[in-house]
């Protein structure tokens, strides 16, 4: 039973998050910062696009480094 539950969560983790968890972590952190700024009436629209570009670049560089 425990094995099935672990297998279920592992499947969905791999399905959504995939092989680089830092991408998901980066997105969550950026979203938290966006939420905090947006709810203090500070323009926060630029944070997510910038964060997405940064997270993507850092993940790609890590993957490329592994290939060396």
């Amino acid at each position: 039973m425990a094995g099935a539950v672990i297998g279920f969560f592992r499947f969905w983790y791999e399905f959504i998050v995939g092989d680089d968890w830092t991408v998901a972590a980066g997105v969550i952190v950026a979203l938290a910062v966006t939420y905090l700024l947006a709810h203090r009436a500070v323009p926060a629209w630029w944070i997510m696009p910038l964060a997405v570009g940064t997270v993507l670049l850092s993940s790609l560089r890590r993957a490329a480094r592994h290939a060396r």
């Binding site: 959504i16 966006t34 629209w45 993940s59 290939a67």
Partner: protein
């Protein structure tokens, strides 16, 4: 709104087409080696399961308040879309091998020829499960995109239409030419899907977190354009880096 609808159909169509090309390779391999009955029963069963997933979760999501829905779905689409985009960039730059349908077909047929035959419910069980799992696993990503994208846009039927047209087109072509669709530009399609999922994920998640986009919906093409430029720049950068490296093995061939 019209642009939203076009992008919605395009995203589900491309995602469905590219996943069905991969599923078709498996089904053809099963059909040729183990017979068409287990292959087609496997396809039919997987399609019923996928339709049930969409029928249950699609309408259920519409009961969630729109801001919460956009936040949750935005994050899921963003993380999921970045996976597609990341792998498409790595493939385009030469770090991950391109998906080769002919090689996959040869691999699947060789494995299917050597597998033992066990009859269950009057079916060759190996052929049935291989076909069922192939279509189900490839189709699950499409169902995920259809359900999340369609319900957040408030237009599930349009999302289903985009995916269904692709299924009919790929299956019809497969029936006609009777071999894997190896000339389909799979990575370019995956690149496009990754860009669209990431764009909408960025837009919705930020909106769900309380952001007011400067140009409202007009921010979507701006985000898309930004991501296209950034992704192409990263691809070019990695490709140059790859060319300077001595010959090394690729990272893998992982999904998406």
């Amino acid at each position: 709104m019209l642009m939203h609808s076009i992008l919605l159909v395009l995203a589900t169509f491309l995602a469905s087409a590219v996943e069905m090309v991969e599923a078709l390779t498996i089904v053809l391999a099963v059909g040729v080696t183990r017979g068409w009955r287990p292959a087609l029963v496997g396809v039919g069963t997987a399609v019923v399961v996928l339709a049930a997933v969409v029928a249950v979760f699609g309408p259920a999501l519409t009961y969630i308040p729109i801001d919460a829905l956009r936040l949750v779905v935005g994050v899921l689409l963003l993380v999921f879309g970045l996976q597609w985009l990341r792998k498409a960039v790595l493939r385009a730059a030469g770090y991950v091998p391109l998906h080769d349908e002919d090689a996959a077909f040869r691999r699947e047929t060789a494995a299917a020829r050597t597998a033992a035959t066990t009859l269950r419910a009057g079916l060759d069980w190996y052929g049935f499960t291989l076909s069922f799992k192939g279509v189900l696993l490839e189709g699950l990503e499409v169902a995920f995109i259809v359900v999340t994208f369609g319900s957040t846009e408030g237009n599930l039927p349009l999302a289903i239409l985009g995916a269904a047209v692709a299924v009919v087109l790929v299956a019809g072509t497969g029936v006609l030419i009777h071999r894997p669709l190896s000339t389909v530009p799979e990575n370019a399609m995956k690149f496009a899907v990754g860009l669209m999922l990431t764009t909408f994920g960025t837009f919705w998640s930020a909106e769900g977190a309380g952001v007011n986009w400067p140009a409202g919906d007009g921010a979507i093409p701006a985000i898309l354009a930004f991501l296209i430029v950034v992704s192409l720049a990263f691809t070019s950068l990695l490709r140059q880096q790859r060319q300077r490296m001595p010959a090394t093995p690729s990272i893998g061939n992982g999904g998406q």
